[in-house]
Amino acid sequence: MSEYRIQGATGEWEVVIGLEVHAQVTSNAKLFSGAATAFGAEPNAQVSLVDAAMPGMLPVPNRECIRQAVRTGMAIDAQINKWSRFDRKNYFYADLPQGYQISQLYHPLVGEGALEIQLDEKDPTSTKTIGIERIHVEQDAGKLMHDQHPTMSYVDLNRSGVALMEIVSRPDMRSPAEAGAYLAKLRQILRYVGSCDGNMDQGSMRADVNVSVRKPGAEFGTRTETKNVNSVRFVMAVVEQEAKRQVALIEDGGTVVQETRLYDPDRNETRSMRSKEDAHDYRYFPDPDLLPLVLDDAFLEECRASLPELPDAKRQRYEAGLGLSPYNAAALTADVETARQFEALLASVAKAAGKGEADVAKRVANWLLSERPGILNAQNIPTDSPKNSIEANTAIVVATEAGTISGSKAKEIFERHLTSDIDLAAEIDSNKQTTDTGAIEAAVDAVLAANADKVEQYKGGKEALFGFFVGQTMKAMQGKGNPQAVNQVLKAKLG
């Protein structure tokens, strides 16, 4: 992997990137109140007196939010702090009724950890470890709408008080690709752990992208922070645009100002937000409403015991234990939902076929990764259609695995099953491929007799015609001939 460099007028520049990712914790209720967190509710329907910061209300943390943050920390091998504390981050804005955000500055719940990214999909050795400095738990703010009224902004506090994890990386990334791979890997892990749904288009995950440039090996330059970037692609674009902007600015005699910026995807550029020097004067102090958060060993043990098999471990097991190719293992483990479907179908097929999982894994993987998606796409049928049931998939794959039907018949029958009401078992039965040599020989004889001219040409050296004979025989047998048996008989007859 060659190093990423910006070519400036004064030579090469290196880019340094750190990401602060805000991930919404999956929970029913908010971090400090019993109001619901579901997406898309009527404005202010999911707001309690705590979230609206009515006088005298006291926050009481939701155990599940703490648990999910701890499990996330464990999944990135981070230090879990059994003693942590909440602080107030003070700022005044219409989306923040308390006048402060309850966060954790001095004693976060989760300390140092790391995750490993793979830079080249095809090269399992192209890995790099990205340090994670901390994960802390904090409240989300409300939402402002500016375009609904000529003189007023509207405030919806449904999101106010929803639990967020802020996951802060070390400035360990050096290219747009690394930043993108880090965010994608983090999202993958969060989805496996179940601590965040990772829906970036609904704002469940958003990244603040810290970028600075320097001559390779020099001290870190001044960084800018581009806020609320909500896709992997945009994170990569921000790094690229911001690095180029900084290099041009410095080479032009200017200085990079430490400031907050916004990304405009339509124009593919970053823009400065107001740079009031006051803006970062948050006057943090320990929240007097909240006692220290102390976790006992039983809590931590439950968190650890409830962690699922994580993507890297799963991928290795698919390769070593199930004999899948690195490509298939990576594709099946890329998202937790794909892995779940694969494992469910694998278990079902192995059981129905009376074989070990490793014996049928390749066929199940191929069915899920290349054959089935083609059929679903062609017919425009969603994966979660009831027709695409595990029973139907099992029946098809088992019949193919047993050699009862050919691969092409399998696809054809499955397609008909999806688009019409057929009796799947009966359909498989009536399309059984035959290995009955007598029937195949009869069909081959008929084909050769009907194409005597082509037989002559074949014998004269035009060997490409072999495929033609196979096709004609299969057609004559309505696709039910076992392809291998047909090949053998043809070879024998054509001498």
């Binding site: 109140s33 943390p61 320990p286 007097p288």
Partner: protein
């Protein structure tokens, strides 16, 4: 530790509280009086003592992840939440336009 007029003006502006100059002038000695009083604590030798943020020898109680378990701290009370708002329309709070 003490504050001057500029510091008081800055704190007021961070909290978006409008304070006129005469009030600031009056507030400086008042705040400095409070700060000096609290500063007496600096006379206590706290070498080797863990900083303490709560006086109750207790740890945080946690709640279960159940929506609206207690009506006092649950949602679905939009009318109550908006009842005291100077402006509320279509279920939203209305505030002076804050677009930048």
């Amino acid at each position: 530790m003490s504050v001057d007029t500029a510091t008081v003006a800055k704190i007021a502006s961070l909290a978006r509280i409008k304070v006129d100059e005469a009030a600031i002038e009056a507030m400086v000695p008042e705040l400095n009086g409070i700060l000096a009083w609290v500063e007496q604590l600096g006379e206590v030798d706290v070498t080797g003592v863990e900083p303490m943020t709560a006086v109750i020898p207790n740890t945080l109680r946690l709640r279960d992840d159940v929506v609206n378990a207690d009506p006092l701290t649950g949602g679905d009370i939009r009318d109550k939440v908006l009842a005291n708002a100077p402006a509320a329309e279509h279920g939203f709070f209305g505030v002076p336009k804050v677009i930048e």
